[in-house]
Subunit: 398 residues, 2 copies
C-alpha cells in the first residue's frame, strides 16, 4: 500500500470538555509511531481561526509532560466559534485554508468537535477533493451532551455524567443531614437532549434516588411540576429534582425564557432555569429551596475523570490515525458497543455527513414519561461508562 | 488514676461538611480501644433534638463498613438548627438532656460543630456541674469557614479550600479555551471571614492566577469593582474574580442585598452575589460574563478530600477521647502548627468558652487590600493543608 507522506494537523472546536485533550494525546502518540509516514505533528491555535492566520503549534514528541494532557480541562490548543460557510459563499476562506495546508504539507487532518465541527471537516474535505489536494480528513467526536448519532457515546459525556451523579449524591446526603430538608433543584446542561440529566438515575445504584428527572424530550408543564414537588416534599420533607437547562413548554419555548417564569420575577438575564424554578417554588408553595447550576464544572471537572472513557478516548484516537494512514478520509471514528457486561467496544468509521448537523435525543426506552423519571434500561447503558462501582462515591449507609 | 466508667455519646451540629463524619470515625475507633472504661458508644440522631427525644443510635464496633464514614459527606448522624437557650430561660430542656444522659449512663460527651455548638457544650457542661453529674464534655471543631480561633484550621476547611482551588483552575482553563473569554465571577461561602475565597490564591502554584479576590474583611465598592474588571478584561480578554458571599459596603450592608444591585434587577430572592455582579457587569459594561455559585458542593465534595486533613481529623478525635478519659472536660481540642515545611502539628485543649461564639477573621497579613488580592504569606499557611503539589490539578502547560 502506498501511503500519503506528509505532516499531521490536529484542531479543537466547539465547547471544551475535561477530556478533549485526551483525544489530542491519543492522536499525537500514535502519529509519533509512524515517522516514516507522518513527519511533523501540528495543532491549530484556536481551531479554524489559527488555520486562517497560519498559527500552528508544533508538537514536541520528546516532551515528557505531554501526558499531562490527560488531566487538562479546557481546549488546550484553543477553540473558536467560527462557523464555516459554504464554498460558494466564502471562497477566500477556503483558499486560505488550502494554502496553509499546502505550505505545511498537511496530509492528515483531525478535527475534534461536535456536529458543527463534523460539518466543517465535511466541507473542507470536499473542497480538497475539488482541488485535487490529497489529505485524509477525520472527525474525532466530542461533546458532553452525548447528542451525536452512530456512536455508543460521545467523548466527554461519561466523565460529565460521573460528575453529575456524584454531585447529586453529595447534594442528597447534605440535604439529609437535617430531618427536614429542602426542595433541591439541580440544573444540568443539555439544550435539546436529556443525556446529562438522565445520568442522575444512577444514584439508585447507591440505594438513594432523585425524585424527578426532567429531560427536554418531554414537554414541561409548570403547574404539574409544582403539584409533584409539593406532594413529594410534604410526604418526605426532602426533594431532589434534576432539570435539563433546555426544558420547553408545549409551544416549544424554553421554560427559563417563558413569561410564566419571567412575569413573576422580571428579568430574563438573571440566571438559568434552576434559580427561577427554585424561586417559583418558594413564592408559590412557601417551601425552602436550593438551586444548583452545575454550569461548566460539569464539562471541566478533572478530579474524577472516568478511567473507562479515558482509555477509550486514547484508543479511538489511535484508531483514527491508523485508519487515516490506510487512506480513509471524510469519516468520523465512532464507538460501537459489543457487550455491556463486561463492557466491550469496537471502533468503526462512518461517513462524516452522517454525523454533521445531526442530533441524537435520549432514546424513548430510557424515558419514563408519566413519572418524569428514567427507566432501569438506562443503567445498563451508562453504568459501564462511569467505571461502574469504582466511579461512584462509596459512602456509608444506615 | 480513677477513670469515669460509662458510655460515650457523640453528636453533630451546624452545617454539614464532607469530613465531619471523619471526626466521628476517629472518636468511635479510639473509644473502642478503651472498653474497660468506655462501654457503649452512641450517636445522637439529629443532634440536640435526638437528645431531647431520646433518639440515639448505638455504634456497632464490628461494623466493617464503618470506615466508609471517611468518604461520606453530610452529617451522617443528623444535624439540627436548635439553639440552646440559657439555663434560666429553659430549665425543662436542660432537665430532659440530663435525664437522657443519666438513662444511658453517658459519661463522655463529644459535640462536633462550629462556634454555636461550642456554646452548647459550654452550657450543658455547666449545668451538669451544677447538678453534680459527672460527664466529660469535649468540643470537636468543625466548619468549612475556618473562622474558629485558637486552632491552625477548622476541620472541614482544607478540603473545601482544595475544591475551590481546583474548581477555579478548571474554570480558568475552560475560559482560556477561547482567545476572547469572559469575566468569570466565582462565589464562595464565607459570610464574615474570607478564608474560603482566599484559597484561590493557590492557583499561583500552578502558574496561573485569579485577577481579584474579594473578602468580606474589606469594604466592597461597586464602582471601583466595575473599573477594575473593565481594565483587566480590556487588557487580557479574560478575567477571573473570586468573591465571598458576604461582601459588604461601607455601611456594613451585604452587597447582594443592597439597593445598588437590587434597583437594577428587582428581586432580592433571586440568587446570590455572583449572579447579580455578573448581570451588573453585562448591563453596565456590555462584557460577557459567567457566574458560579459553588454553593454546597464546596462543603459536600467528597471526591477530592485532603488526605492531610483526613489524617489530622482522625488523630484530633483520638486525642479528644484520650483527653476525656484523663478527666478533661469543658474543653475543645485544637490544632497547633509546629512547622510548615514539613507540616507538623500538635494537639492541645482550650477552654470551651474561648471558642464559643468567637469569630476569627482572615489575618491582616494575608490581605493585599489595595489590590483586592491575597498576599504570598497565605500560601505558606494553606499549601500544606491541601496535600501540597498532590492536591492540585496537574495540568499541562505551554
Amino acid at each position: 500500500m502506498k501511503h500519503l507522506i506528509g505532516n499531521l494537523l490536529y484542531g479543537q472546536s466547539g465547547g471544551p470538555t475535561s477530556i478533549i485533550n485526551t483525544s489530542a494525546y491519543g492522536i499525537f502518540i500514535e502519529a509519533f509511531k509512524h515517522q516514516d509516514i507522518i513527519k511533523d505533528v501540528y495543532a491549530m491555535n484556536y481551531g479554524i481561526k489559527g488555520l486562517l492566520l497560519d498559527k500552528l503549534t508544533k508538537i514536541d514528541k520528546d516532551d515528557k509532560d505531554l501526558k499531562k494532557l490527560l488531566n487538562t480541562p479546557g481546549s488546550f490548543y484553543g477553540s473558536n466559534r467560527f462557523k464555516l460557510k459554504s464554498y460558494k459563499d466564502d471562497k477566500k476562506t477556503y483558499e486560505k485554508i488550502l494554502n496553509t495546508f499546502k505550505k505545511h504539507n498537511i496530509r492528515y487532518f483531525f478535527y475534534n468537535g461536535g456536529n458543527d465541527s463534523m460539518d466543517t471537516i465535511h466541507k473542507i474535505g470536499d473542497y480538497f477533493k475539488l482541488n485535487n489536494y490529497e489529505c485524509n480528513c477525520i472527525g474525532i467526536i466530542k461533546t458532553i451532551d452525548n447528542d451525536l448519532p452512530h456512536t455508543d457515546f460521545s467523548i466527554g459525556y461519561p466523565t460529565a455524567a460521573k460528575f453529575i451523579i456524584n454531585s447529586a449524591i453529595e447534594i442528597y446526603l447534605d440535604d439529609h443531614s437535617y430531618e427536614e430538608g429542602r426542595i433541591n433543584i439541580v440544573e444540568t446542561m443539555g439544550r435539546n437532549a436529556g443525556w446529562l440529566a438522565a445520568s442522575a438515575k444512577l444514584m439508585e445504584i447507591k440505594g438513594i434516588k432523585a425524585d424527578l428527572i426532567y429531560v427536554p424530550e418531554i414537554i414541561f408543564d409548570i403547574d404539574d411540576f409544582l403539584d409533584r414537588v409539593k406532594d413529594i416534599y410534604n410526604k418526605n420533607k426532602h426533594a431532589l429534582v434534576i432539570v435539563s437547562e433546555g426544558l420547553k413548554n408545549k409551544d416549544g419555548e424554553f421554560i427559563f425564557q417563558t413569561n410564566s417564569l419571567l412575569d413573576s420575577f422580571g428579568h430574563n438575564q438573571l440566571g438559568g432555569l434552576s434559580i427561577k424554578l427554585a424561586n417559583l417554588i418558594t413564592n408559590k408553595l412557601g417551601i425552602k429551596t436550593r438551586y444548583y447550576e452545575l454550569s461548566l464544572l460539569q464539562r471541566a471537572n478533572s478530579t474524577s475523570i472516568s478511567k473507562t472513557e479515558q482509555k477509550i478516548a486514547i484508543n479511538l484516537s489511535k484508531f483514527a490515525v491508523k485508519e487515516a494512514i490506510k487512506g480513509v478520509t471524510q469519516k468520523a471514528v465512532v464507538i460501537k458497543r459489543v457487550s455491556s457486561n463486561p463492557y466491550k467496544v469496537k471502533f468503526e468509521t462512518v461517513d462524516i455527513g452522517e454525523i454533521a448537523n445531526q442530533e441524537r435525543y435520549l432514546d424513548d426506552k430510557y424515558i419514563d414519561k408519566d413519572n418524569h423519571y428514567i427507566t432501569d434500561k438506562f443503567v445498563e447503558y451508562l453504568y459501564p461508562l462511569i467505571d461502574k462501582e469504582k466511579g461512584l462515591l462509596d459512602f456509608y449507609k444506615k
